[in-house]
C-alpha cells in the first residue's frame, strides 16, 4: 500500500515536471508542431524513402531482389509518355481555367453593385463539397454516348450530331478538365475573395482621380494586389493536376480507349498494383515527384515568388 502511494506520488511529481518542461518557452513550440512532424515522418518521409528503395527492386512475395536501375530504364516507354502528355495537358488547362475564371468571378462577387451575392457565392462553392466520384458518375451519365443522354439531347436541340464523349482524346480531356473546373472553381474563388479584401480602397480612389477606367483598375490595382494569391493558387493547381487520378478513374476505371484518360498516377496504380509490379510503380512515383518538384520550382521562379518582398 505504502509503496504504491509513494510511487503514485512520484509519478504525479514527475508528471508535473513533464508538464512544466512541456510548457517552457523553448519546448512548447515543438510540442505544438509535433503532430505535424510525426505525421510527416510516418506518413510522408518513411513511405518516400521506402518508395525510393523499392524503385530499385523487383518486389515479389518472398523474392524481393535489387535489380539496379532496370525499373527506371523501363519508364521511357510510349505509354508513360502518353500518360505524362495527358497529365501535362490536363495541368495546363486546369491552371489556366482555375486561375482566370475564379479571379473574374470573385471580382464580380466582390462588387457592390451585384445583387444576390451570397446566393451566387454559395452556389459556386457547393460543388467543392461533393466527392469527385459521386459528381463524376453524374457527369458520366450526362455525357453518355447514346443520343438520349442529357448533353447529346441538348446538342440535338441545336441540330448537332450526338458525340461519343468518352471515346475521343479531345472530348475525354474536356470531360476531365470540366469536372475538375466545376469542382474547384468555388474553392479558388474563396481564395481570391479573401485576397480582394486586402486591396486598399485608397488605391482605387487614387486610380479614379487619375481617370482610370474599370479595366485599367483591374489590371493595375487588383491584379498586382492579388499576385501572392495567384502564385498560391497556381502552385496548388499544378501539384493537384499532376496528382490527378479520380477524374480519370471515374470516367474510365483505368482502361480508357487508346489510353486517352491515362494519367501518371493512373499509370502508377495500373503497373504497381493491378499488374503487381510495385518496383516499377515506385520508380514512376519517384520520377513524378521529381517532375512536380522541377515544375513547381520553375513556376515559382517565373512568378518571382523567391524574390524578397520589398
Amino acid at each position: 500500500m505504502e509503496r504504491s502511494e509513494t510511487m503514485s506520488n512520484k509519478k504525479s511529481f514527475s508528471l508535473k515536471g513533464i508538464l512544466r518542461f512541456l510548457n517552457s518557452r523553448k519546448v512548447a513550440p515543438y510540442v505544438f508542431v509535433s503532430p505535424f512532424i510525426v505525421s510527416f515522418l510516418v506518413l510522408y518521409l518513411y513511405p518516400m524513402i521506402q518508395a525510393i528503395v523499392m524503385s530499385f527492386q523487383q518486389v515479389l512475395p518472398g523474392q524481393t531482389t535489387f535489380i539496379g536501375t532496370h525499373n527506371y530504364q523501363r519508364i521511357l516507354n510510349p505509354t508513360f509518355f502518353q500518360a505524362l502528355g495527358n497529365t501535362a495537358t490536363y495541368v495546363f488547362f486546369t491552371v489556366i481555367i482555375l486561375v482566370m475564371i475564379p479571379i473574374v468571378l470573385s471580382v464580380f462577387l466582390n462588387s457592390k453593385s451585384l445583387y444576390f451575392k451570397n446566393f451566387f457565392r454559395a452556389s459556386l462553392f457547393i460543388p467543392a463539397l461533393t466527392s469527385v466520384i459521386v459528381a463524376g458518375i453524374i457527369f458520366r451519365m450526362m455525357f453518355g454516348e447514346s443520343e438520349n443522354s442529357f448533353v447529346n439531347e441538348l446538342l440535338g436541340l441545336v441540330g448537332m450530331e450526338p458525340v461519343q464523349w468518352r471515346y475521343g482524346a479531345g472530348t475525354g480531356m474536356f470531360l476531365m478538365v470540366l469536372l475538375a473546373s466545376w469542382r474547384w472553381i468555388g474553392v479558388n474563388i474563396l481564395y481570391f475573395l479573401a485576397g480582394l479584401q486586402n486591396v486598399s480602397e485608397e488605391l482605387y480612389e487614387a486610380a479614379d482621380i487619375d481617370g482610370a477606367n474599370p479595366w485599367q483598375k483591374f489590371l493595375f490595382v487588383t491584379m498586382p494586389a492579388l499576385k501572392p494569391v495567384i502564385i498560391f493558387v497556381a502552385t496548388i493547381t499544378i501539384i493537384n493536376g499532376f496528382r490527378m487520378f479520380e477524374e480519370s478513374f471515374v470516367f474510365w476505371e483505368n482502361s480508357s480507349p487508346g489510353n486517352i484518360g491515362l494519367t501518371v498516377v493512373g499509370y502508377i496504380y495500373r503497373e504497381g498494383i493491378q499488374q503487381n509490379d510495385m518496383g516499377f510503380g515506385a520508380a514512376i512515383g519517384v520520377v513524378l515527384m521529381l517532375i512536380i518538384f522541377v515544375v513547381s520550382i520553375v513556376q515559382l521562379k517565373f512568378f518571382g515568388a523567391f524574390k524578397k518582398e520589398d
Binding site: 518508395a51 523487383q58 523501363r74 516507354n77 505509354t79 476505371e253 515506385a282 512515383g285
Partner: protein, 454 residues
C-alpha cells in the same frame, strides 16, 4: 518551410497509392460484374453450430456465396465433430484483388480462402506463391474433370485455384428475331454461314446480327482460343500478333465495318448497363458469351425469357472446335490460414465433389468442371435456367466436351489484357485508325517493352 510544403505535396503522390483501393467499382472483368458497385456485404454461414472453426472467405461476386452456403450446411451435417462457420465477405473486384495482393505480399491480413478472377490470377503466381497447393485433393479426381480448367490456375505442377465452371463459350440466339429474318439457326455451321445469316437479319429486321466488345476481351479471346491460338504459346512466349490472331481481329473488324452485320457493343462490353437494355429490347439477334453469362440474361434481360436458345459456336473450318473456355475464377486457400488442412478439405468438399459440382449448376447456372456429372439425373431437375433457355443445354455441352483449349496464363497476361482493352480493339474496330495487324504488333511491342527480365 515553403520548400517543405511543396516537397510534402509531391510526396502525397506516392502516398496516394495507399488510398486508391477504396470505392473502385470494378466489374469490367468477366464474372466480376455481379458484385459491381455494391456496398460490402458480410454473410455468416453455419452460425448456429457450436465450437465451429471460423474460416473467412473473400469474393467479388455475391452469387458465388450460394455454393458455399450449400456446402457448409452439408459439411456440418456430415462432420458434426468439426463444424465450420464460414464468414463470406463481398468486395468490389479491384479492391478485393488489391487488398489480397497486398496482404499476401506483406504477410498479414489475408483471409483463409478467396476467389481470384482469371485476369488477376497470374499476379498471384509470381514469386514464392502464397497459396496452398491443392494437389492431394485434385489429383485423385482430375480424370473426371475438364483438366484445362485446372491448368490455368497452376504453376510448376501445383494446382492452386479450384474452378467454378468450364466457361464453354456458346452462341445465344434470339429465336424471335431469327424467325423474322428467315434464318434456321441449326443451319449455321461455319462463321461464313454466320455472316451470311447476319446479312439476312440486317436486311429483314431492325436488329443487328451481333455485337463486338471493344472495351473487353469476350469477343476476341474466345475466337482465337477456338482456333487453337492464344496471347501466349505453350512455352509462355508472347504470340499476340501471330497470323491467326491478326486474321481473327480482321474478321471482327470486317463484321462491324465491312459486312456491317455487327456493331460495337453499346457501353463497350457485354456487362454494361447500356448493353443489357439494348439486348433486352431486341437490339441484336445473337450473342457469343460463355455459358456462365446465362445468369445475366435472367437477371438483366427478363423480356427475352423463352426466346433465347443456345448453340455451339460456328466453326472456322470443318471439324474445328465449336467452343472455347473463357473467363473463370479460381478459389484458393492462402498460406496465412491457421487451419490449412481444414480449409483445403472443405474447399475440395465444395468444389471437387459430385454434390458440389451439381450445386454449381443448380445454384449458379454454371457448367461444372466435373464433366462426369453433366449427364447425372440431378442435372435435369427443373430450374430457372431451363425455364429461360431451352432444355438441351447439357446435351450441347456434352457434345462439346474435348473441344476446349487451355488458356496460357503468364505473369504478362494483365499487361496484354490492358493493351487489348485500351488500344487494340479500340483503334482497329471503333476508331479504325489502325489495321488489325498494326494494332496487334504495336501492342506486342508495348508488352515486350514492359516485360521484366527474369
Amino acid at each position: 518551410m515553403k520548400h517543405w510544403s511543396i516537397f510534402g505535396g509531391a510526396m502525397l503522390s506516392l502516398v496516394y497509392l495507399a488510398g486508391c483501393g477504396g470505392g473502385s467499382g470494378g466489374g469490367s472483368d468477366g464474372e466480376g460484374s455481379g458484385g459491381e458497385g455494391e456496398a460490402d456485404e458480410v454473410e455468416v454461414i453455419g452460425e448456429d453450430s457450436e465450437n465451429a472453426t471460423e474460416l473467412t472467405f473473400w469474393t467479388f461476386n455475391e452469387q458465388h456465396i450460394g455454393i458455399y452456403e450449400d456446402a457448409v450446411n452439408r459439411w456440418n451435417e456430415e462432420h458434426a465433430d468439426r463444424p465450420i462457420k464460414l464468414q463470406a465477405e463481398v468486395y468490389p473486384i479491384d479492391q478485393m484483388n488489391n487488398n489480397l495482393l497486398l496482404s499476401l505480399q506483406s504477410g498479414s491480413g489475408a483471409p483463409d480462402m478467396a476467389d481470384i478472377e482469371i485476369s488477376y490470377f497470374a499476379n498471384f503466381l509470381e514469386g514464392d506463391v502464397q497459396l496452398e497447393s491443392m494437389n492431394e485433393y485434385v489429383e485423385p479426381v482430375l480424370d473426371d474433370m475438364v483438366e484445362e480448367r485446372f491448368d490455368i490456375y497452376s504453376k510448376d505442377d501445383n494446382y492452386y485455384g479450384m474452378p467454378y465452371h468450364v466457361g464453354a463459350t456458346v452462341m445465344y440466339y434470339n429465336t424471335e428475331i431469327m424467325e423474322e429474318a428467315g434464318v434456321n439457326i441449326d443451319e449455321i455451321v461455319t462463321w461464313d454461314d454466320y455472316v451470311e445469316a447476319g446479312e439476312q437479319v440486317v436486311e429483314n429486321t431492325d436488329s443487328m446480327m451481333t455485337t463486338v466488345e471493344v472495351d473487353e476481351h469476350f469477343s476476341f479471346w474466345p475466337l482465337i482460343s477456338q482456333r487453337g491460338s492464344d496471347y501466349f504459346n505453350d512455352e509462355g512466349d508472347l504470340t499476340l500478333a501471330n497470323d491467326t490472331n491478326v486474321d481473327t481481329l480482321q474478321f471482327l473488324d470486317d463484321m462491324v465495318n465491312e459486312h456491317e452485320v455487327a456493331e460495337v457493343t453499346p457501353g463497350g462490353f457485354h456487362h454494361s448497363e447500356e448493353y443489357y437494355g439494348y439486348m433486352n429490347n431486341g437490339g441484336a439477334a445473337s450473342l457469343m458469351m460463355p455459358t456462365w453469362y446465362m445468369g445475366r440474361f435472367i437477371d438483366y434481360m427478363p423480356d427475352l425469357e423463352g426466346k433465347m436458345e443456345i448453340r455451339p459456336l460456328p466453326v472456322w473450318e470443318e471439324g474445328g472446335n465449336r467452343t472455347a473456355g473463357m473467363g473463370g475464377t479460381g478459389t484458393v486457400v492462402t498460406n496465412q490460414t491457421e487451419e490449412p488442412e481444414l480449409a483445403k478439405e472443405f474447399l475440395a468438399y465444395a468444389k471437387l465433389s459430385e454434390e458440389g459440382n451439381i450445386a454449381l449448376w443448380q445454384e449458379l447456372g454454371f457448367d461444372p468442371p466435373m464433366y462426369t456429372v453433366w449427364d447425372d439425373e440431378a442435372m435435369d431437375e427443373p430450374n430457372p435456367y431451363y425455364d429461360y433457355f431451352d432444355d438441351e443445354i447439357f446435351d450441347t455441352l456434352l457434345d462439346l466436351n474435348g473441344e476446349i483449349e487451355a488458356l496460357n496464363i503468364t505473369p504478362d497476361l494483365p499487361d496484354v489484357q490492358s493493351e487489348i482493352h485500351t488500344n487494340v480493339l479500340n483503334s482497329a474496330i471503333r476508331q479504325q485508325n489502325q489495321e488489325p495487324e498494326e494494332a496487334l504488333k504495336q501492342a506486342e511491342e508495348a508488352v515486350k517493352s514492359g516485360q521484366t527480365e527474369e
